[in-house]
């Protein structure tokens, strides 16, 4: 059963607005949280993960599905790596290693 066109558009607008509002609030809250949070000592496990080179993370994860790009502009690296973290289910440590490798 299809919804009437006008009603569907209203639903779409409301849904997108709600998602954006949640994203806006979430972005602000967690950006602030990170700024205010005192640095904590990394665990042994995270130190082990941190030692993994960004190049290794890049070759192990990006190349699993597609030919890795030769160049990514540093201006967009953070955004692209965020997207890839979601798509490839990367850990925070892998994301950091990739950022250090792609935009040192």
């Amino acid at each position: 059963m299809k919804m009437p066109q006008g009603r569907a558009r209203i639903h779409l607008t409301v849904l997108i607005t709600a998602i954006a509002a949640a994203a806006w609030i979430g972005g602000n809250v967690f950006a602030l949280t990170d700024t205010n949070r005192p640095p904590t000592a990394p665990s042994a496990a995270s130190q082990e993960i941190n030692s993994k080179s960004g190049e290794k993370v890049f070759m192990e994860n990006c190349a699993r599905c597609h030919k890795p790009p030769m160049v990514i502009s540093p201006r967009t690296t953070g955004t692209v790596v965020m997207h890839m973290r979601v798509r490839a289910k990367l850990s925070r440590q892998d994301e950091q290693a990739l950022l250090r490798y792609l935009a040192p």
Binding site: M1, K2, M3, A8, L12, T13, L15, I16, T17, I19, A20, A22, A23, W24, G26, G27, N28, F30, A31, D34, T35, A45, S46, E48, I49, K52, K56, E60, A63, R64, C65, H66, K67, P69, I72, S73, P74, R75, T76, T77, G78, T79, V80, V81, M82, H83, V86, R87, K89, S91, R92, Q93, D94, E95, Q96, L99, R100, L102, A103, P104
Partner: protein, 346 residues
Amino acid sequence: MKIWLFAVCLLFSTMQLSGQDSDVGSTHAGYLPVLSGGAGYIYNVNGGTPTLSPAINPVLLLPLGSHVLLESRAEFVGEFQRRNGNGDYTGQIFPYVDYAQVDWLANTHAIVVAGKYLTPFGLYDERLQPIWIATFQAPPLTYGIGTRTSGAGVGGELRGVIAQTENYSVQYAAYYSAHSNVEDLDAARTTGFDASIYFPAYRVEVGTSYQRFLDPRQINNEAEYISWQPPQIPLDVKAEADQSYWGHGYWIQAGYMLSQVPVANSFFKRMQLAGRMEQSFPDHGGGNGVPTLATQRPGVALNYYIKDDLRIVSSYERQFTSAKDVNIWNVGFTYRFVWPLWPERK
């Protein structure tokens, strides 16, 4: 109009937040909004019927700080066929929203996703579908298993990595989708999970997906898959087996970059030779995303990377069914783009 106004506001807010990269201060990574995606033009001949298929799949990435990402992929795919079999090409462009989701990168183990998201089932829907990634342009015969009704869910998803060491990493995704008839947000009521383990030393990933389809009629869908890129040779092997109430099948695909050819290496290193074998068998009459006849489809593909982001694609497949055997040809090109949407802040 309202949506455009909203989009412009969102772009401004993204620019505002792009400077809040407090935890990546040691890098020069920028968080500008990005327009990415792929485009292509495929000439397809299926059983003697030619079809022209131009396609653009823009992906919009709007980061809000370094923990929240708003992302969406649309598709504009054309289908043009000859009028009355030998006249002019005529057809139309089909616009569609593949996904529109907000991602909250909560911590190292969890990413919370809300909105319309690609169904994390098997290898194809989430990873191999983009036109610039796909080795074969046609989706596998069993693609409909676990991805009904739209290849996406509307609701929430939790995904990430459970455990990670030097020797392995375990990844997961779990989701719930509501039933939706809203235009461009259509989805079936489903719930399910995907889990995989990856061994980096061998470049092997083994995974499984389970889905409970909750719209009538309620059924289970399952998939098992493997992905292998041996470190010594430029080979990419992927395989998946799918089971559903309506049918079952498998596909196995291997792609080899000819970079080890000793002659004319600068030419051959950009060339990929691939093969795929797939079979699908209907159960309980098939349909609902599964072919209604037992189908076998072996094929080969030859793709050439002119540049890293631009390639010529070609493939030949032979499809066997009890009703008719047909040849399927595809020739065309694909292009990948990544463009910043805003000038960098000083």
